[in-house]
């Protein structure tokens, strides 16, 4: 690896961390779409900042862009409050308007400057190492590394200071307000951080990758954990992992770095969505299948309990009577046998004492919905896991 390659991966990793942190809270607040809006509507802020300073690297650009990001949120909420349209519609109205104002401003006044729309949307990570920061002729490294590093430090500082406030206002804004931990302040704080991160990152990686890095790692981690701190850590790891893996995919395919990173993020989400232990598609399907069999089992046991006569308990009769196909009957019989709930003697099925007890408790649970008696069965039977 040469130093440019290391620098690119370092920048991408820092961007990934800086995005994953606010992204996690945006996902939990069901505000993922707002990052899409912010990443586009910062454009007029950048353009106006440029008109004032005539310097593309001025910090004022970041301030102006962050301000127009927050303005987006304010406008969306204002339109939403009229009660005439819903939030998603309001977002769809606001950001194209602001974005196009930015484009018109560029077209009318800044045609001769390097401020083109493609760069805003897609970015070009490969060029990041060429734009360097120098002090007294000493090379201090790529400028984007410094910008995103600073933003990341601020984000981390705010996260550690206000973790509890972020958590309570995200989970229960009403309580946060009643406790005097203003959810409004936290809300706009989070929006400001998201805007600043977007501005800091988009120059290096482009707006689309910023959205992907904010939403995808958090959404992926959400499928794997029920703990907010672990969720944040996992989101950061997924973000950094995808950024680095994406870089090498791009290297191997000679393709766009941002595009490859976004693809890796998408593939990673798909994999976790399919194979996650508890919330993944396959384990959900498996659970549903087991629940179906267990319901059948209970039906079957109940039938046995209610019928003492031998002819009612004959295996053949069960097939006809309960109207199940052979396969299903067999899997139910197997499950009952495996759990020692029945005995089969000369094709006549009988309930064991254990089977009787299970039937009574399970029916009782389903009727009264009381948890206590069923608690020790939850590990073995999906039926009681709610």
């Amino acid at each position: 690896m040469n130093s440019a390659q290391i620098e690119i991966q370092l920048i991408a990793s820092l961007v990934a961390i800086a995005c994953a942190i606010p992204g996690t809270f945006l996902v939990l607040r069901k505000m993922a779409l707002i990052t899409d809006a912010i990443s586009h509507s910062i454009l007029p802020g950048i353009v106006i900042g440029f008109f004032i300073t005539h310097d593309l690297s001025s910090p004022l650009l970041i301030v102006m862009a962050a301000a127009s990001g927050v303005l987006t949120v304010v406008l969306v909420e204002f339109i939403q409050k009229t009660g005439l349209v819903k939030e998603d519609t309001a977002i769809g109205l606001v950001f194209p308007a602001l974005f196009s104002i930015g484009i018109i401003l560029i077209a009318k006044n800044a045609n001769d400057v390097h401020l083109d729309v493609d760069a805003v949307l897609l970015g070009e990570l490969a060029f990041a190492p060429f734009d360097r920061l120098a002090l007294d002729g000493i090379d201090l490294g790529p400028k984007s590394l410094w910008i995103i590093g600073t933003i990341l430090l601020i984000t981390l500082g705010l996260l550690f200071a206000f973790f509890k406030e972020l958590k309570v206002s995200t989970f229960d804004a009403g309580l946060a307000s009643a406790l005097g931990l203003s959810p409004v302040v936290i809300h706009y704080g989070l929006m400001t951080v998201s805007s600043i991160t977007t501005v800091g990152a988009f120059d290096a990686v482009g707006a689309i990758l910023v959205i992907a890095l904010m939403i995808a790692p958090a959404a992926t981690a959400y499928l794997l954990t029920n703990d907010l701190k672990k969720l944040l850590v996992l989101a950061v790891l997924f973000g950094v992992g995808s950024a680095i893996a994406g870089y090498w995919v791009a290297y191997a395919l000679d393709a766009s770095i941002s595009g490859s990173m976004t693809t890796v993020l998408g593939v990673l989400f798909l994999m976790v969505y399919l194979f996650a232990p508890a919330k993944g598609l396959f384990s959900v399907l498996y659970r549903q299948k087991q629940q179906r069999i267990e319901v059948s089992l209970l039906t079957f046991l109940l039938h046995l309990r209610n019928h003492k006569e031998e002819e009612e308990r004959h295996v053949k009769h069960l097939n006809e009577h309960i109207n199940w196909q052979k396969v299903r009957s067999k899997s139910v019989l197997d499950l009952a046998l495996k759990n020692n709930m029945i005995t089969i003697h000369k094709d006549v099925v009988s309930l064991t004492p254990k089977g009787k007890k299970f039937t009574t408790e399970a029916i009782d649970y389903i009727v009264t919905n009381k948890n206590s008696e069923i608690e020790n069965m939850k590990d073995r039977f999906f039926l009681f896991r709610g």
Partner: protein, 247 residues
């Protein structure tokens, strides 16, 4: 029963509107200290809005609200709040214990983090509502009744003087309902004031000693034995109140 002279919550001329449509009209209400009070009224009567206004979550367009003769902002530590169970996302990645710990955030203030003392208080509150065994369970894995108990524990940990609860019996099983009302009665015995938005008119005489009838305007307020009658029920619910009772 505690002395009835001291006023815990004093509301004067309160009007609240959403988008210029009043949901509470000119409410005057004095809630005495030490009562267990039900707020009853039909859907859209402004019951939740009244509680949220007292807690400064909704800004009224007119009127004043005093908690022990001072504005809410100065009396936060005296007040605990149990919102409607449906108002939060129970898929949020956190545990029962952590939700109860949130009750301590008010006394901590900004930035300071909860420590051992707060954790101990939260565990005690969980034990009081019979949920200690579930402390590390993810909140979406709890039943409706268990979730409501966790919310109650979160209010208990605030160790307040006045408790506001928005429909604590909604969607809970009979055992939980009994457990909750017993805890509320204990709070009243300890001299606390408990204010509950309540839907089941049948249980009002059994559970509460004070009642407020509300339907955008205040219809009546006072001891259950004096004012819980057909006359006030008809005024609040219209002539069909008997349907509401039988529900």
């Amino acid at each position: 029963m505690a002395e009835k002279n001291k006023i815990a919550v004093q509301i004067d001329d309160l009007t609240v509107a959403y988008n210029y449509k009043p949901v509470l009209w000119d409410i005057d209400l004095a809630i005495p200290e030490g009562v267990l009070m039900a707020i009853v009224g039909p859907n859209g009567a402004g019951k939740s809005t009244l509680i949220k206004s007292i807690l400064d979550i909704i800004k009224p367009i007119a009127g004043s609200i005093q908690i022990y003769e001072k504005p809410y902002k100065k009396q936060r530590s005296l007040v605990a709040y149990v919102p409607q169970k449906g108002s939060v996302d129970w898929d949020f990645p956190t545990t029962a214990l952590d939700v109860v710990m949130m009750g301590t955030y008010g006394s901590l203030g900004w930035i300071r983090r909860p420590g051992q003392k707060q954790k101990k208080a939260a565990l005690e509150a969980l034990e009081k509502v019979g949920m200690l065994a579930f402390k590390n369970r993810q909140i979406s894995q709890l039943s409706g009744g268990q979730q409501q108990r966790v919310f109650l524990a979160r209010a208990l940990v605030q160790n307040a003087s006045i408790y506001f609860m928005d429909e604590p019996f909604q969607g809970v099983d009979a055992t939980t309902e009994k457990a909750i009302i017993n805890i509320l009665k204990e709070l009243r015995k300890a001299g606390k004031t408990v204010i509950v938005v309540h839907h089941d008119l049948q249980t009002v005489p059994e559970y509460f000693d004070w009642v407020t009838f509300l339907n955008v305007k205040k219809i009546a307020t006072g001891p259950v034995k004096d004012i819980f009658n057909d006359d006030n029920l008809t005024k609040t619910y219209g002539i069909n109140y008997k349907v509401a009772v039988s529900q």
